[in-house]
Symmetry: none
Subunit: 404 residues, 2 copies
C-alpha cells in the first residue's frame, strides 16, 4: 500500500489565446516531467458539459456525488470557518457590503476588513423570532450566516443582487412550502435589522473617517442545508489531510472528514507562500494516508483575465511546489490536476475538461508535456472526476475488490 | 446479421515491469493483426476505479449491471456445478480444508481431491433444522453449499478465515434481521456437524495413510441469493454458448442463459488444451448466434506473480487460439479483451482498464499492436464493460432502434 497525494491547481485549465493556453505558454519542466514519467488524461470534474463550482468540483474529486449531496455553498463556507452544523440548519455565504441611498454601491465594502470582527459579533447577537442565528466573520469581507430551528428550508433566493448599482434583493421562497416561506421571511427580517443596526455604527463612522467604505449591509447567497456526507474514513478507510487557504475548500475538505493543516504564509492569493504549502504536504504524507494540496492563485489570475499573471503563477507552482515534491516524495501515488477550467476569455469557470497527470505504478504514456492538449492524448483518455479517488487509490493498492 | 465471438483472457491486463507489460513483451502476431485490422480501445469492465471480481466483471461484460444484480459469488458457483437455485436460496462457495488442533492449517486440504466425492455425498445428507441443504463438490478442493427454506438471508459473514493458522470463523448476521440471524445459526450448526462427521472418517484415515492432509472441515464464503437476472435470449434475442473450464465463469454464463459447451482437455489452468477450446468455439459459431470463449491461464500466472509464465500463456493464446480463429472465422464480429487487469506487482485484480480489439464492420484505427498502451490510443477510446454487448451486437446488426 502506498500513500497518495492529490495536487489541485484551482482554475488551471484554459483555452488558447493567440494559439497558446497559459499552461502551454508557461515554462514547466517539473510538471512536464510528471507527464513524461506518469500517465496523463483529461477529466470532467463533475460531468461533461457541466460548469463546476469550486465546491461541487471538489466534492466530486473526493468521490462524493454533488448531484446527490450538494444543496448549496453555505454549509461548506460554514464548515470552512469551523462551525459545526446540525441537521436542519440552513447556512448562507455572506458579504459585508456598502449601501448608499438604498443601492448596493459596493458588494465587498471596499474589501476592507477594518472593524468587521466587531460588527460580526454584534450581528451574531441579533434575535429574530422563529430561528436561532449564528453569524461569523470569514476571510476578508466575507461571513457566514446560519439559521437554526424547526421547519427551515434552503430553497430561498439570495438577498445579494450579484451586481452593483441596484437595491438589495428581498429573499423569496422558491417553492410552495411553509418552510421556504418562513426562511425567506426570517432572512429578510435579519437583513433589515442589520441595516438598521449598522447605519450609524461607530465602526462605520471610523471607516468613513479613514476614507473607507462603510460596511452597512450583509448580503446573503448560496443557501444550503447540512446533508450527511459519507466520511473519507468510512468510504475509503483513509486518514486524510487538507492543505488549503481557501475557506470554501477547507469547508468541503472538513465536511468529507479531512483534517485541516495550517500553513503560515498561505493566503489563497497569488502572493501565497506556496513553497511552505509544498513543504507541509511533504511532511503531512509521513502522517496521513492521503494528502490534498490546494493552490488557489491560478484561479484568481483567471478571474482577473490576466494571462501573464496566470502563466507566472503556473511557473511558480512548477518551481516552488512540484519541484520539491518530485525531489522529496518517493514511492507514493501523486496526481496533479485542476478542479475546473477558468478560461481567460470568459473570466469564469467553464466545462472544458482539465488536464491530469498521475505518477506511480502506472502505464506511462507518450505525453511529454503537462498541458490541456497534450494530456488529451494520454493513456487515461477522458475520465470523470467522481471516479478519480478510486482510480488513484487503486494505484496505491488501497481499494477492495467488488465481487470475487 | 452476423455471428459474434467474444474472447476473454482472464486477468490479461497489467502494468509495466521494467518498462514492458507481459502483453507488450509477448510475441503476438495474431492479436496484433486483430488490432491492425480492427478497432481498439480500453475498457473499464465494471466502472472506472472499481476493482472487478471475476463474477462482477463477467456479469458486466454480458450487459448485466452487477451493482443491481450481484449479491455474492455463491449463486454463480452453484450454477457452475449445475445446481438450479430457487428464489430465496442462499448459496455459499466452499473449500474443503484441514483443521488441526482447532486451527485451519490448510485452507485447501493440500489441494488433493482424493475421496472428496464420497465426503461431499455424506455432507449432502446432513440434516439441520430450519432449512434444507444441498452440498455438491466442485472442481478440485472446492464445493458449493445451498440452504433452501423460508426466511433466509445472504447477509451473513463467512466461516472461511481467509488465512491459515487461526481457527475458523463463526458466521455472524450482518444486519438486524431475523433472517440473517437464522441463516448464520444454520451455517454454524452445519459447520460443526461437518467437523464432527469428518473427524475420524475413513476417507481421512486413508488420506493420512498416503501422507495427504485430511479434509476435515468445510469453509464457506461469498453468501449470495438468487436474483432474477434477465436472460440473453430475453435481453438480446440471441442463442448463446459459453466455453470455459472455470466453475465460477460457467456459473455466471449459465445464469445469464448461455449453454455450456464441454471441451476435453480444458482445465482452466496454464496446462489447458486451449487449442481444443478454440476449435470448439469455431464450431459453436455455426450453431449459436453468440459464443463466449474464456481463457483462464493468464490470470493464474498473474496471481503467481510470474512474468515469464504470463508472457508464455499470452503467446500460446496467440498461436493456439487467435491464429485458428482468424483463419477459420469469416464474416463474424470478433472481440478480444479481458475481464480485468491482474498486475504482477500486486498479484491481484486492479482497476486498470483492459485492452480491447474488435474485428468486423468497424472504423479501423491506427493501432498496430494489441497491448494495454497501444489500445489506449484506439478508435473506441475508453468504454464501459456494461455497454460492450450492445457495441458488438450493433456491429453484428442485431440491435433494435431505441426510438424512431
Amino acid at each position: 500500500m502506498k500513500k497518495t497525494l492529490l495536487i489541485v491547481c484551482d482554475g488551471l485549465g484554459d483555452r488558447p489565446v493567440d494559439g497558446l493556453t497559459p499552461l502551454e505558454a508557461a515554462d514547466t519542466p517539473n510538471m512536464d516531467s510528471m507527464a513524461k514519467e506518469g500517465i496523463c488524461g483529461i477529466m470532467d470534474t463533475v460531468l461533461m458539459g457541466v460548469r463546476p463550482g469550486s465546491d461541487t468540483a471538489h466534492l466530486s474529486l473526493f468521490g462524493i456525488d454533488p448531484f446527490r449531496y450538494y444543496t448549496g455553498r453555505g454549509p461548506f463556507e460554514a464548515a470552512g470557518v469551523g462551525l459545526n452544523l446540525e441537521e436542519g440548519d440552513v447556512a448562507f455565504r455572506c458579504n459585508f457590503g456598502t449601501l448608499r441611498d438604498g443601492r448596493v454601491m459596493d458588494r465587498r465594502a471596499g474589501r476592507s476588513e477594518e472593524g468587521l470582527n466587531k460588527l460580526a459579533e454584534e450581528i451574531n447577537n441579533i434575535k429574530i423570532e422563529g430561528a436561532d442565528l449564528i453569524f461569523k466573520k470569514a476571510a476578508g469581507h466575507r461571513a457566514v450566516l446560519v439559521l437554526r430551528g424547526e421547519g427551515l428550508s434552503s430553497n430561498v433566493s439570495d438577498t445579494d443582487p450579484e451586481r452593483e448599482g441596484s437595491g438589495y434583493n428581498e429573499s423569496k421562497p422558491l417553492d410552495e412550502s411553509m418552510e421556504a416561506k418562513k426562511t425567506a421571511e426570517i432572512l429578510n427580517e435579519f437583513t433589515e435589522e442589520v441595516v438598521e443596526q449598522l447605519k450609524d455604527h461607530e465602526v462605520n463612522q471610523r471607516r468613513e473617517g479613514k476614507n473607507k467604505l462603510p460596511a452597512n449591509i450583509v448580503l446573503a447567497r448560496g443557501a444550503g442545508m447540512k446533508t450527511s456526507i459519507p466520511s473519507f474514513m468510512e468510504k475509503y478507510g483513509l486518514s486524510a489531510a487538507c492543505i488549503s487557504a481557501t475557506t470554501l475548500i477547507r469547508g468541503v475538505s472538513r465536511e468529507v472528514g479531512m483534517e485541516l493543516i495550517e500553513v503560515k504564509g498561505a493566503t489563497g492569493h497569488v502572493d501565497s507562500d506556496i513553497g511552505a504549502k509544498a513543504t507541509a504536504a511533504i511532511k503531512a504524507l509521513d502522517v496521513y494516508d492521503f494528502v490534498f494540496l490546494h493552490l488557489k492563485g491560478t484561479d484568481e489570475a483567471s478571474h482577473d483575465g490576466d494571462f501573464e499573471s496566470k502563466k507566472e503563477m503556473i511557473e511558480r507552482i512548477d518551481r516552488e511546489v512540484i519541484a520539491p515534491i518530485l525531489r522529496e516524495i518517493k514511492d507514493a501515488t501523486v496526481a496533479l490536476t485542476a478542479d475546473h477550467s477558468t478560461p481567460l476569455n470568459i473570466k469564469q469557470h467553464s466545462a472544458d475538461p482539465v488536464p491530469i497527470a498521475v505518477l506511480g505504478d502506472v502505464r506511462t504514456d507518450e505525453v511529454k508535456r503537462f498541458t490541456e492538449r497534450d494530456c488529451a492524448r494520454g493513456g487515461l483518455n477522458r475520465i470523470r472526476g467522481l471516479y478519480l479517488m478510486n482510480i488513484i487509490l487503486d494505484l496505491s493498492d488501497r481499494i477492495k475488490l467488488f465481487g470475487a
